[in-house]
């Protein structure tokens, strides 16, 4: 018995408190027991929730709780110092100190392997101390929250939080602590002083979000990952092109279901305590272009990067010192990761060409600086996920996707047809002249795009009535395929031992490209589909549900939320029992825990 109690109270690396485990719901029950007694005493409520959040984090990360506490204490006092500083100079100094501290913490835990690798390369000595460094769960999320808090005080958008317990509660609120959303102080701090208020319908919505999140995580994420996707990504060369492609599309669904599933549960649990967390996803695979995708995917990170990185760098106004500094830093990092000086030279060359263009054609300056800042933001966003070449490529591809869209969008119909046809011809020529799987993929994808663009242009030129839904479906498909392709690099770099992440991620990504681009056995497709029929059904079903119209979704959400409580309870029990049928192995950690 005593052993069981200590097991509940102490940190066990193998058993963090996960939303998908019974222990978490027992924990929530205990929290709600005390919460219901003290909810009207606001200071006590906040202090209690802060304590519970720290316990929750301790159960997930053990000794690393100290890193969280240090971030809270440092940011709290620097926040006060910024606001009380006499002039802008002192404010800037305090802000810099706060940001440097937060980023140092993040860099130490997250990029130590990378820096050790660089050190080893430069000095020839092994920097073995980093072998013991583990990444504290959720460090990227709470670090960004602390930075946004300091910057918002500096900008005068908010006042500092007077109580350290309140501030600690804001940073560490357990539903969103380990995988977001990244909550801005301006969106949350005002709630700290409000009494508990939750309508009956909003309670129903909270239950809905929790069940929705659990369904996404257990069925759409864990089940298809364990039974198919992880196997393919572990050994891509054992599977043919079709299976690799299926796994890649499956992963697109998995990562969405996993991450948004976590957010749904977090929002639901927070609502039960009367707190509103911001929306982190807005049906991202309904996006009709790459920029729109980033307004729908991981919204809290996109907004954070926009407000605290893109705009300070100059945004769409001009390029600043930071813009060029980032280019140089990214060049150096790319060189280190690839161990190839030419990569850095090419990046610098592109930057130099951009600079020359701006000098020669001042009217291009705005467009070029906007794109440089956007690409820098995406590259740093990629690097935020980890110091691996794959994450940089993933960020870079997304940046390029946005630039291409910006160039593509204003083109006339026939210019588009011409450009895409030319690119198709070029990639086809490349696939013949320099045989490589990547050219094959490019030729096929561009070919399909060219065909679609031509049909659309001919249709419109003929004066026929535009079929909106079809055109929108075409745009959504194009965006989804592009985003899925970038995910290849993202997934290949995930869940790896940091020491070998770079090499292994690169091998996985290149093997998958090779298989998808050059190793197809069409005659086996029926058998492959039959072999994975359950997985295929789940992927199709998941995507269909995702693409259901917002109005329909809202309607069934409200129907659920309006149910009598007894019926809602029965439905909840039924759903939980159904979800259990899909649990085949141990519960998998949420993908974004690693970031």
């Amino acid at each position: 018995m005593w052993e069981r109690i200590t097991d509940i109270l102490y940190f066990n690396e193998a058993h963090p408190l996960l939303f998908t485990q019974g222990e978490f719901w027992l924990f929530l029950l205990v929290v709600m027991c005390i919460f219901s007694l003290i909810h009207s005493r606001i200071a006590m409520r906040n202090a209690f929730l802060f304590g519970m959040s720290i316990f929750f984090y301790y159960k997930t990360s053990g000794i690393f709780t100290l890193a969280l506490l240090s971030a809270i204490v440092v940011s709290y006092f620097i926040g006060i110092a910024i606001e009380k500083a006499n002039n802008k100079g002192w404010q800037k100094l305090w802000l810099t100190l706060g940001i440097v501290y937060s980023l140092s913490l993040l860099c130490y835990f997250k990029y130590a392997y990378f820096f050790a690798d660089v050190f080893t390369q430069l000095s020839g000595n092994t920097f073995s101390i980093v072998e013991q460094i583990l990444l504290p769960v959720g460090i990227s999320f709470y670090t960004f929250q602390c930075i946004s808090y300091l910057m918002d005080i500096y900008r005068g958008r908010i006042h500092y939080v007077s109580s350290i317990l309140d501030f600690g509660f804001y940073v560490s609120f357990f539903p969103q602590l380990v995988a977001g959303p990244i909550v801005r102080a301006s969106d949350f701090v005002y709630q700290l002083h409000q009494p508990f208020a939750l309508s009956r319908r909003w309670f129903g919505i909270a239950v809905f979000w929790i069940l929705n999140g659990l369904t996404k995580k257990i069925i759409l994420s864990d089940y298809i990952a364990v039974n198919f996707i992880d196997r393919v990504f572990a050994n891509p060369t054992l599977y043919d092109g079709f299976e690799n492609l299926l796994a890649l599309f499956g992963y697109s669904l998995q990562v969405y279901a996993d991450f948004s599933g976590y957010t749904d549960i977090a929002i639901g649990v927070a609502l039960m305590m009367g707190f509103y967390l911001p929306k982190n996803f807005n049906a991202p695979y309904k996006a009709i272009n790459a920029p729109q995708f980033w307004k729908r995917w991981h919204i809290s990170l996109s907004r954070w990067l926009q407000d605290y990185l893109y705009i300070p760098m100059g945004g769409n106004r001009n390029a600043t010192f930071a813009s060029y500094a980032v280019i140089i830093v990214m060049g150096v990092i790319a060189m280190m990761l690839t161990r190839n000086v030419w990569v850095a030279i090419i990046i610098m060359l592109i930057a130099a060409i951009c600079a020359i263009c701006m000098l020669l054609k001042p009217e291009w300056k705005k467009a070029i600086t906007t794109n440089i800042n956007a690409t820098n933001t995406m590259l740093l966003g990629g690097l935020w996920h980890g110091a691996s070449w794959n994450f940089v490529i993933w960020g870079g591809l997304n940046g390029i996707g946005m630039i291409i869209y910006k160039l593509w969008h204003p083109m006339s119909r026939w210019t588009r047809v011409l450009v895409i046809s030319l690119l198709t011809a070029l990639s086809y020529y490349a696939s013949v002249a320099i045989p490589h799987a990547l050219w094959n993929i490019a030729a096929i994808w561009l070919g399909i795009t060219a065909l679609g663009t031509a049909i659309s242009s001919i249709w419109r030129s003929a004066g026929a009535k535009e079929i909106n839904w079809l055109y929108q479906a075409w745009q959504i498909t194009q965006t989804f395929v592009f985003i899925t392709f970038t995910r290849l690099f993202f997934r290949a770099g995930s869940n790896l031992n940091p020491e070998e992440a770079n090499e292994q991620a690169w091998n996985t990504a290149t093997s998958m490209i090779e298989q998808i681009g050059a190793h197809w056995q069409p005659q086996l497709i029926p058998e492959i589909l039959a072999q994975h029929i359950g997985i295929v059904y789940l992927i199709i079903m998941g995507m269909i549900i995702h693409w259901i119209g917002d109005r329909t979704k809202r309607r069934y959400r409200i129907i659920f939320a309006s149910m009598p409580l007894w019926l809602m309870a029965i439905a909840t029990i039924f759903i939980v029992m159904t979800l259990y049928q899909f649990v085949t192995t141990d519960m998998q950690k949420f993908i974004y825990f690693q970031f």
Partner: protein, 478 residues
Amino acid sequence: MRPNRILLFLAGILFSLGVICFLWGGQTVSMGIVELRIPSLSLFEHSEEKNISAEELLNESAKDMDLSASLTDSVNVDKANLSDTLDFYFSFMRENNARLHFPGGDTCTAILNPLFESLENLKTASNNYPQRVHIIHYGDSQIEGDRISGYLRALLQKEYGGGGPGLLPLVQNVGALSVSQSLSDTLTSFTAGGMLGQRASHKGYGAMAQFAHINTTSDPISLVINAHRVDGFKHVKLFASNIDILSARMNGNEQCLPKNDNIQTLSWRLKRTTKRVQMDLSGTSDILGIYIDADTGVTVTNIPMRGSDGTFFTRIQRAEMSYMLNELNTRLIILEFGGNALPLMKDSTRIEKYGKGLARQIKHLQAACKDAVILVVGPADTDIKVNGELQTNPHLEPLIEEMQRVTLESGAIYWDMYRAMGGKNSMKVWADHQPAWAAADYIHFTRRGADQIADLLWRSLMIYRDYWNLTSNVGENN
């Protein structure tokens, strides 16, 4: 809505779930065509775990293995230790988790002697007197990508010489890290077992349990083979049957086979050792396999059959299979199956039925290749959720017992992979190892894990080899 009502709701749900789990936990409720599993209360507890690392589990099996080589060396010097040395071997053969099980009892190892003799003879072989030994490794998805076979091949070729990957199909249904193949045309693969490939209208699959049919008169079909992680090769042999006419060109050397329904071969000896070869095929024929090796030494063929339970051999006509196995001097046939049978093993009747099927396969292979010894490698640990608790599939141990029983009764050798890797719940420990030795499905090994298990099998075989060496030397000296 007040917090106490929320608490009541939450408590009500958890209490109801608790009552359901308490009353019906672990049972299966049938609802029409759907069977609903009810979790037990252990869902709220951690499953019982082995408080042991994967290395420790392995060491349980491997602890005595390193002693073997030093003992056999020292015995030549000091015969006084002979009795102790023999005791060591007998102790290993009777107790070690990674030991082999033999038909006449665990110490009746004579069945392996012809294999060791033929391998030992390779050490005296030369280019003028080439000798070859072929080992064929059939298995399910656990050996896909040349896993386990590739590891054994590398060590065997290091010890006894040799090169090349052994037999390869014309159509590579499952990729392999050691060899990549590209074919200029899309051909259908006909397989006797597994999920990939179609079943043929006849039984002439050959020893690879698969073939591809070519039918081309104008443009030849071009096959390019690139070996990556195997030593270079110098000798290529093509097996074909149901030939209308077949022409094969390699390195400018074209050979033809006239119409013949029986199995035929074409051979090429390359001028120098290589890792890449291109073959252009035209005509109409079934291609049963392409064998690639060095002039002399040992080769290990990897034949993965995804989704198969290993009961497909009796679907293969014996004549072609026998011809290929004997032509290549096959001395060891490894059958690594059982994992795909497990989900269907709901009761003892099904387990017995599977056992009978396995016995028929062994007999079929024994009849096809009388010189080869058959080694059945049982399934690895497979962990599933039972009543909310992750544990070894409850049907695994009875299945393993039955497989071992019928294997020994059929005159073959059995290696218990499940016990060798650590027994009950060991797959979870392997999956938790950093870096992972098993996948999160708790069924498949990762490449690292496959190397570990292959190493264990290799070292176990070497113990028996050392024992054979020792007893042969003692016999000669006496």
